[in-house]
């Protein structure tokens, strides 16, 4: 009985201590930043001594979660629209600023011939082609744009399968269930995927490189103002730009 009482007191104490602990500084990041964020966070910690925690999700999901009160301080999106929407509704306190541009590549692990680029995808030797869902993902939208540019969109339609995100396109390419996937350069140059199959860049005149915006969220200003402001400045600094460039992004 006595030990039960002690346990009860101890657990009440533990819970109350957790409530009092300062909230960790949290950055919500789009799925394509998976590989670059560790480098950014390490550099940021060296400069400021602040530990930046990351929460990885599709940009649209993050935006929805922020609207429902998720405790994120800064949001690094895969596009400009989602942070723009949050800013207009008062969930973000700064207008979205592009920190990097995502680039489109063709990626294959089945030995498909990529030398003719997007136009060559109509070749009978190439089977299924995966793109991110254009309705949900900016990379999918731009993949369609590139197909339109080369006038192969209609011909390719029967070959297309849709991943819910650029991450799922990677899974389709990885499992060799598709011959070719429209992926992001940041994914194919990452250490985890180096040497897996072949990739070629999609020429930049055929689509618009995807501007990725960063905003400070209202939760950040209310709870972690100093860390949020420092981090916001940091992702636009020369050091951060070098990290983005090295990881397959185009710079603003």
């Amino acid at each position: 009985m006595r030990s039960l009482k002690q346990l009860l007191i101890a657990s009440v104490l533990a819970v109350s201590m957790q409530v009092q602990a300062a909230e960790p500084f949290t950055v919500a990041i789009a799925a394509n930043l998976k590989y670059v964020f560790d480098d950014l966070a390490a550099e940021f910690k060296q400069e400021t001594g602040i530990e930046a925690q990351s929460v990885l999700n599709a940009s649209g999901k993050i935006a929805t979660q922020v609207r429902q009160g998720a405790p994120f301080d800064v949001f690094m999106s895969a596009d400009m629209e989602f942070p723009e929407g949050l800013y207009k509704e008062g969930f973000a306190v700064t207008a979205p600023k592009p920190y990097a541009y995502g680039l489109l590549v063709l990626w294959s692990q089945t030995g498909a011939d990529l030398s003719k680029g997007v136009a060559g995808l109509t070749d009978a030797a190439i089977g299924k082609v995966a793109i991110a869902n254009p309705k949900l993902a900016p990379f999918g939208k731009q993949a369609l744009k590139a197909m339109e540019f080369y006038k192969v969109k209609v011909a390719l339609e029967p070959k297309l399968v849709y991943g819910e995100s650029i991450t799922q396109v990677s899974q389709y390419v990885d499992s060799k269930a598709v011959d070719v996937g429209f992926s992001a350069k940041s994914i194919v140059v990452a250490p985890e995927t180096t040497g897996k199959g072949k990739w070629v860049a999609v020429p930049e005149e055929s689509y618009e490189p995807i501007a990725q915006g960063v905003v400070i969220l209202k939760h950040g200003i209310d709870n972690n103002a100093d860390a949020a402001r420092k981090f916001y400045g940091f992702v636009q600094s020369e050091k951060a730009r070098a990290i983005f460039a090295k990881n397959g992004y185009k710079l603003p």
Binding site: G60, K128, N133, L160, V161, E164, Q168, S175
Partner: protein
Amino acid sequence: MLSIEDIQTIWLTIKLASLVTLLLLIIGTPVAWWLVRSRVWWKGLVASVVALPLVLPPSVLGFYLLLAMGPQGPLGKLTQATGLGSLPFTFWGLVLASVLYSLPFMVQPLHTAFEAIGERPLEVAATLRASPLDTFFSVVVPMSWPGFLTAAMLTFAHTVGEFGVVLMIGGNVPGQTRVASVQIYDHVEALEYSQAHTLAAVMLLFSFLVLLALHVWRTQPNRGY
């Protein structure tokens, strides 16, 4: 309002769930019967394999099915050699995946129902010179009728609600693999909440009515005796 596309996804979902339920009645019945009657030592192994989809996260199951069915996988090589083509991202690929995924939902209730019959009725039938097949259809099936209904209901419902596996091996192809659960997900992701609500409400109502009808039918006295 439901768009043409939404209605297409509902129709596809019903088609998939009905087909999977029918196939599993054919496959699951002998499996369940064998599990109840057999005396071999490796019965436990089979029972465990059958129950695996209950434990495995759908994303894991989906990913390995994708690997197996892909052009380089063992199943994929088999289907291509036999001229069936490649299964991922097609309706039949979904059917195969759903059959595996919903297998325990068919087998478990049947297993319970067959076990409840016991030895006696089978012995009586045998002394009256009924063949095993005759015994099964004139004694076992009528006696375990509620079990069949429960199994079919659970399988159908489980297949309608399936999402993780479909997302992994479906590829969201309109008219082929874009079922209602994926369509609702897409609506939510695109912040089209009103369409998501409408479609979800239709699914909810449909599922509820199916379950209610079956329940009423099941609880009628003297069904099948």
